[in-house]
Subunit: 414 residues, 2 copies
Amino acid sequence: MKKLKGAAILGQSGGPTSVINASAAGVFLEALKHEEITAVYGAKHGIRGILNEEFYDIGKEDVKELELLKNTPASMIGSVRYKLADPKKDPTDYFRLLEVFKKYNIRYFFYNGGNDSMDTANKIADFLTEHDYECRVMGVPKTIDNDLYGTDHCPGYGSAAKYVATTLMELYHDATVYDTPQVTIVEIMGRNAGWLTAASQLAIEKGQGPDLVYLPEKVFDYDEFFEDIEKKLKESSKVIVAFSEGVRDKDGNYIPEKYSDLSKDSFGHTQLGGAAAILADEVKKRFDVKVRAIEFSLMQRCAAHLASAVDVEEAFNAGREAVKSAVNGHSKYMIAFERVSNNPYKINYVHLPLSKVANVEKKVPLEWIKPHGAGLTKEFVEYALPLIQGDDKAPLEDGLPRFANLKKVLVNKK
Amino acid sequence: MKKLKGAAILGQSGGPTSVINASAAGVFLEALKHEEITAVYGAKHGIRGILNEEFYDIGKEDVKELELLKNTPASMIGSVRYKLADPKKDPTDYFRLLEVFKKYNIRYFFYNGGNDSMDTANKIADFLTEHDYECRVMGVPKTIDNDLYGTDHCPGYGSAAKYVATTLMELYHDATVYDTPQVTIVEIMGRNAGWLTAASQLAIEKGQGPDLVYLPEKVFDYDEFFEDIEKKLKESSKVIVAFSEGVRDKDGNYIPEKYSDLSKDSFGHTQLGGAAAILADEVKKRFDVKVRAIEFSLMQRCAAHLASAVDVEEAFNAGREAVKSAVNGHSKYMIAFERVSNNPYKINYVHLPLSKVANVEKKVPLEWIKPHGAGLTKEFVEYALPLIQGDDKAPLEDGLPRFANLKKVLVNKK
């Protein structure tokens, strides 16, 4: 295999997770080892950083700080939600990328993101090939939603799932404090795939979880929901509901959509709060109980203090594997996880063509979802449990996490 | 000092914290050591458990599980919000308590709670004395609000403060991911005292905190608030606001109160969500930016996985000290903390008469609060920093916290 000499650049894309920076640490620390990689760059805000020739010189950073990236949440070099056009319709951005790549002799391009980002990486790779510019393009997966096609699971999911299960267990204890009837509705992220809400089953297995669980994979029925609540209230004075923000009714409407027309017509602005707040209001109207809505909001995707050690390690390794693969001559692949066994838990890092992962969503299998909000089957538990194992978090300084502190030295524009 | 032989009972009262069970562990494990304490009971749902003769026999529990209580959030034996009447107006409950105490020979009564609970304990102690029933009554403080009079700080506060500061640091990283303008308003608990919201200063000290902080101790001005936001938006594309749920305007109205008339008149039901959601909506109307409201909700009071080691230890010791003091003949005191030094951090456990602590609220000193939401002074930081030190959490089992699992054997009614 021919050695390819040139600079490497990493872009972070899409919503943050607790371990997206762990993948960055993997890419950076591995790339700095290889003599054929002449410089290591971090694109400021993903693709836009490349288009604007704004990238950080990672070679100027302390290795100790790059190590701390493993336990620093969100996207340290900045993320972006920027969708490239179809190059056949508008190749402007692609020509600009080619120009920048040539100017800085960028020969290794790593893109860390979800399915949209893999689509972007794939289009860029094809365009560079068509224009005879040799550049190895590798995708590194990430998403708390766990909805990427072709990989057993995604970096970011394990930590978010651990947050959901742990926090639901703690809320369970909080909810049982008084003996007055009470319904608590917890809203969990996941627009179309319910993987994260499904993690509440891990708390249920401990006897300290929600009583009802609703995923977007199943059509939501309002009447059935209120019947489920009524039934549970007869069994227990406290009822906890885990509810995915992505749940939709038979008309395809999200919960806030169904109710937003009402408030829009009267007030001219959309309903405050999400699905949980609205459902809490509806439950309050029907039952004489205390009701509380809780949103896990951004905490579920950035609670690095509660990250899964397995997730941190896999995210880091995915970044390293991407670099090693590229140096070894591979291109146009995403690093994917293939599960070898559960006992002991073992995965292989494999190559998945970018074209295959782009824009496909992987949902929770319907046969894993029990009816009437009764949670998930044991197949889900066997799948998810290995992913939340172990603790790995930033060291404490003054009782608070010591996150990475990068110098962020911008490369001089040529 | 005369030895007093009889049973001991603990009641938990008011809202939960991460370490209220650590105090229970302290009371139980210490009480089980003393031969003059003939039985150790846990009242099911506080005072109501005593009135109903429903208490758990703690002697039947495994010591290992009682140790695990240290890291189990909320109130394991059940809490209550039940206010006893003035005994001069209606002594019914007091006579019933006396009857139960006599029947089970209860000679030690420990009550763990906030200022209301200390008031309750004080009234009971006085009544028992007046009716010549010898019983030693000791209060154990707890509240995330940190508003108890006469103690340097309260068990529960350190862990909640650590949650607030850590989570704000994580949200800071999440908020800086995109370069589009964005305002995030975070709502933090504290009805009348802003101690918990003040903890956001600890994140600010790290350069990873909110840009604006509003406490209930200062009268809130809407115009000033929007001016503060406008100014910050000129300095940075991302603005994070830490906002106490207890903030009130010049008319004494909480934020939801000011806006609830509006929605009540139009819809017939009260506004969904709290202060943050309403303010987010108002910011959205005034500025062309993305706005997000986040409520720390119950998580801030039950996130035992993020407890402060100092807090856990002090809560545990407060419980032990209460038992030791009672055995040594003391009564009608709350265990309070007296700070000896900050470097090294050291406290003394002292006795505060119950009558002094009852129904008095301790607020954040006004001179510690900077104007225009600019946070807290260094005096606050010196005060709060020692309280959030160290980690102490439940061991992991299957990647999730292994909380205490009590048998909860009810004592046979006599």
